[in-house]
Amino acid sequence: MGEVQLLALGDAAWTVQFGTLIDEATHARVMGFVAKLHVAMQADAPGWSLVRDVVPSFRSVSVLFDPLHEKAPGLGKVLMELAADVQSQRLAGRNWLLPACFDSEFALDLGDVAKRHEMQPKDVISALCDATFRVYVLGFMPGFPYMGGLPQKLETPRLANPRKVVPPKSIAIAGQMCAVYPDSSPGGWNLLGRCPIPFFDVRADPPALLAPGDTVNWYEIDRVSCLEMEARLASGELLTEKFLQTSEGLQ
């Protein structure tokens, strides 16, 4: 386990770095540090008023702040004191069981991914639905989750020719990760299906569906169910909370 390092990201941000690779242990320390930082910020809001953003990533946390604030010179030291005895938080978030539709209209790269791994498409789907994914970080675009836990037998490089437009709500894989495109965007990941749930809605609180530390399991639904669910979610008849798992199963 690496020593925690304090790195300057200019004069208005610090990066507190717990490691240089992606692994659950390092991410657990990231989540532990974020939790400790939020507790400190809530306990003394005026003292922390210089902080503008706390941005966790796979293996570090960047803290952006107002460089003209009187507490700016002392912030780095305070962050390192907090980082010194961080309690790893492995199970930091919520557990989701999310619907995935693998209809051919949405699963644009399923055939290629299956062929590459000498598998049948239905076995790719099973492997995806058997895995438990861990949200490491939101980035790239609002609400876009980088999730680890893709089974080794499904590891697939990014597309050599990225798409100019990926359809919104696309479930995608690349490298060792799984993600969902909340909205249309250029993108180089392999598209396997569609999730009817909005992953980013500016009117919701919080606006992003997932958060770092959450886990996600997928379950297969058919096209008709997918479209119906989208409509019921849009009308408010179906709430995203319904997809939170308890240890006893779906609520």
Partner: protein, 347 residues
Amino acid sequence: MSVFLEVVDAGSGNTLQDAGRFGYRHLGIATGGFLDPIWAACANALLGNALATACIEMRALGPKFKVVGGVLHIAITGAVNARVIRSGGAEQSLKSWHSVTLQSGDQLVCGPVQGGVAYLAVQGGFDLPEILGSLASNSRLGGNSIQRGLPESGLMIACHDAEGAKLQRADPFEHSSGSIRVVIGPQDDHFSKEAIDSFLGAKYSVTNDFSRMGMRLAGDPLKHLTPAHADIVSDGIAPGAIQVPGNGLPIVLLADCQTVGGYPKVATVISADLPRLAQRKAGDVLQFEAVQIQQAHEIDRSQADRLRRWLGMISPYQAAGYIDLTALYANNLVDGMVRADPLHPFE
């Protein structure tokens, strides 16, 4: 009674900006905000606005507006030669760094921005709903077309009702010149000491690939320690960060940059130098100079002091009896004046 700016021609590169959106980067949402917060503050100060009041930020070709519904007090800062076309047809050139009164029916033609960014502020600011705590344009967050960063013709932008304005002016706030100051790192360990020394001595030029997300530089490629050092596991990035991808050509990230990134960062531009960096144009030559964080904070404080002194130099001016060019050319060639007010040099 509401006053509106109706977009007659959206121009290009024009967005609505304020100080930006804080507290949402962990969701993948860019901070956004003024590329040059200092010149935006100046435009606002000329109108008595709070310094971070939302302004229209102009790059490339400023918009053409029509004032609808009442009187509007505006101020422009930046390298723009704006014109007002009065409803009678008379044209008047509009000086930047001066507040001006526009009447209902006037057209405001902002024109091309001669490099960098310019700001159009309206007294009282814009009457628009904030999205996640800010009016800064973001295509991913909805709102009307200027809030998405793509204003459309016909868009009516609501302005707050302004109470009586005094006309004010000041000399332009001159940004400092010289090397752009940076704090080395966070991935300086991906480069040899020689490479970093050459980065700090090199002359780079600003390419045409220069947007609110970032500025690509041309010059001698910077070598990573090994090819493998050209990538990192993505970590947090911020405006000012200088990424160096595999091709060795630096990219300076700006206000609309993403929140995490996978290229190593050799250095980060200090906050104080981001405004003047944004005023550069394609073809300009840049050099970088390393400073310690404490120095960076001192530079930031002294720039803040310089802005405070500038605010103290704002002074009133009288609207000149302006020359009505239409009348001059069409009518009175002998005395050449339509109004008999004493003529102040319009410059």
